[in-house]
């Protein structure tokens, strides 16, 4: 029983970091542009499918395949930003609705290209490690380490460099930031592109562990938003923490409650947090 618990907890942590990378994208975009890019899940899917294609079909080694996949996801994000989000900068509801429209388009395109048949990548890294009495596949640890590293690097970059300060200033007072010379248009585009890159990277790593299908985008953006709200919108650490808490709750919950409840935890968290601690577990008053 204890083994099951430990095993599920570890699983939950790893899935949680995947939730966390999306949550990071959500929190960054919302914090700086005020819009939630509901289509982030689709960019994760793009990263995943491109990685699968490059690795399984084109035969590139996995570490090499990740980079073009992330780049392509980010490129698509850039296109979406220039064609769509650029025109909804000041209107939050419109930005939200536009991103929702984007979901339909990207998901349908993926269905046309790859159909609903799940795609599985071959083994990237085989072998397992014993951790806490449980056998954990090495690849899962690698994924966890990479995602956590990227998230901490992002946090460090934003809190220590001038880009970060500019972004923070903008999120506090857009007009003042603009007057002080912060290139706001570049900042907004940059955030959108960076968050899609994060999502694409997450997708590339996701592909090494799980099977792919076009519906994964919709699932992950919902989890990402739940994790971001749980951790506190605007808090980068909160994104990772929220993701892990959600992942672990779902994984451990599945031991005691039927699988049908899996998706309910996140939804209940959201409602509860927004009612009792709207700034999230780690967030500050925005």
């Amino acid at each position: 029983m204890l083994q099951l618990l430990v095993g599920q907890t570890l699983n939950g942590v790893i899935v949680g970091t995947l939730y966390g990378i999306i949550a990071l994208g959500v929190t960054l975009t919302f914090g700086i542009t005020g819009i939630v890019n509901f289509a982030l899940g689709e960019f994760m899917m793009i990263g995943a499918y491109v990685t699968w294609y490059l690795f399984d079909v084109a035969g590139l080694p996995y570490p090499v395949a990740i980079f073009p996949a992330t780049a392509i996801a980010a490129g698509c994000g850039f296109v979406a930003d220039q064609l769509l989000f650029r025109f909804t900068r000041n209107n939050l509801i419109n930005g939200l609705l536009v991103s929702i429209g984007l979901i339909s388009i990207i998901e349908a395109a993926a269905l046309l290209l790859w159909t609903t048949t799940p795609k599985d990548m071959g083994y990237v890294l085989s072998g397992a490690v014993r951790l806490g009495g449980v056998s954990v596949p090495k690849m899962k640890l690698v994924v966890f380490a990479l995602l956590a590293a990227v998230m901490f690097l992002t946090y460090a970059a934003l809190s220590r460099t001038w880009i970060g300060r500019a972004a923070y200033a903008y999120s506090q007072n857009p007009e003042a930031a603009m007057l002080m010379g912060v290139r706001t248009e570049v900042l907004q585009s940059g955030v959108v592109v960076y968050s899609t890159a994060l999502a694409g990277f997450g997708g590339a790593l996701y592909a090494s562990l799980y099977s792919l299908e076009p519906a994964m985008g919709g699932l992950y953006i919902l989890k990402g938003i739940e994790a971001a709200i749980l951790g506190g919108i605007g808090s980068l650490i909160g994104a990772l923490a929220g993701g892990i808490i959600l992942g672990v709750t779902e994984a451990v919950g599945s031991i005691y409650l039927p699988g049908a409840f899996r998706d309910a935890y996140g939804l209940i968290f959201v409602v509860a947090i927004l009612l009792y601690q709207p700034s999230g577990l780690f967030g500050a008053e925005r």
Binding site: N94, L97, I100, L274
Partner: protein, 310 residues
């Protein structure tokens, strides 16, 4: 005067003999009820609710299940459906509006409740039959002059029945929106802080708008279930909510009848142009994006402003 606009629709079946077209119109009428009611909370009160499809779907299930389990008519089945919709709207609305959730958070919380409802229906196999859905074999009965108690079955019956329901919905919305209640909705949409200072109880009127919108959606859902003869958990999906949002945006959110136009276009188009499921999804996505970026007032709104400018 505006009542004359309905005349063409009333005599339409006499002119067009095609069952196929009349069926599309019937579907459009029913979905238009969902769209017009969504516009109450979205276009007129300015709140983006993602719970509309849930209201649509939950009522579909309750009406059908009540009718089949207790062997009662559609109308009797409609009663618990509407009562439940009002109750759940008051609860969810109270939660959201008491805590003064704004824009994005209101959308997320209503989405959360909508998804929870969908999961309940999806997994409560003993009652709802889960993903397999349920067949609805009954049809409503209506007392009509000349023929007496008639079964609403067949193309003509459903055409006029759903058209009558749509006219009722539009009339109800019109009464509400032209009164002081409509002014309160507009005030909340345009400047909530000012509205409060002028004595408008924001909580009460948002709750009223949300409840009324969901109740009318419940009627639409029940009609839809009995018309198609089949219900499934996808009635409550986010995609269904998005379809309705697209209809409203396409048709125009500043008028009561705008969403009707949107419903007709989006319901009819995939049949006129034979599209695969994926192509339809792409179409809807494009419609959503293009209306926001290019045609923010929707079709009817844009026409109205051309007329004003002329």
């Amino acid at each position: 005067m505006k009542a004359l606009l309905w005349l063409p629709l009333l005599i339409f079946p006499a002119l067009i003999q095609s069952n196929f077209i009349l069926t599309i119109f019937t579907f459009s009428f029913i979905l238009a009820i969902a769209a017009v009611s969504f516009n109450l909370i979205f276009g007129f009160t300015g709140q983006l609710s993602m719970f509309h499809a849930a209201a649509f779907g939950i009522a579909a299930y309750i009406t059908s299940l009540t009718a089949s389990i207790f062997h009662v008519s559609f109308w009797v089945g409609l009663v618990p459906a509407i009562c439940f919709t009002i109750l759940i709207s008051l609860i969810i609305g109270s939660i959201c509006f008491k805590f003064k959730l704004r824009a994005f958070y209101f959308a997320v919380v209503t989405l959360a409740f909508s998804e929870l409802a969908r999961l309940v229906i999806l997994n409560w196999n003993s009652v709802t039959n889960g993903t397999l859905g349920l067949m609805v074999l009954d049809k409503p009965f209506l007392w009509v002059p000349v023929t007496g108690l008639t079964k609403i079955d067949g193309v003509f019956g459903w055409y006029f029945f759903s058209l009558a329901a749509l006219i009722f919905t539009v009339a109800a919305c019109s009464l509400v929106l032209r009164s002081w209640i409509g002014r309160c909705f507009a005030a909340i949409r345009l400047n909530e802080d000012l509205a409060q200072t002028l004595g408008i109880n924001i909580f009460r009127y948002k709750l009223l708008s949300f409840t009324l919108a969901n109740t009318l959606a419940a009627i639409a859902g029940s009609l839809y279930a009995f018309y198609t003869g089949y219900i499934e958990p996808n009635y409550l999906s986010i995609n269904q909510s998005l379809d309705i949002i697209s209809m409203v945006l396409l048709g125009g959110r500043s008028s009561i009848i705008g969403p009707i136009a949107g419903a007709f276009v989006l319901t009819g188009l995939p049949h006129v142009i034979n599209l695969s499921g994926e192509a339809r999804a792409i179409l809807y996505g494009l419609v959503l994006i293009l209306t926001i970026l290019v045609l923010p007032q929707g079709m009817i709104g844009t026409l109205a402003s051309w007329r004003r400018a002329a």
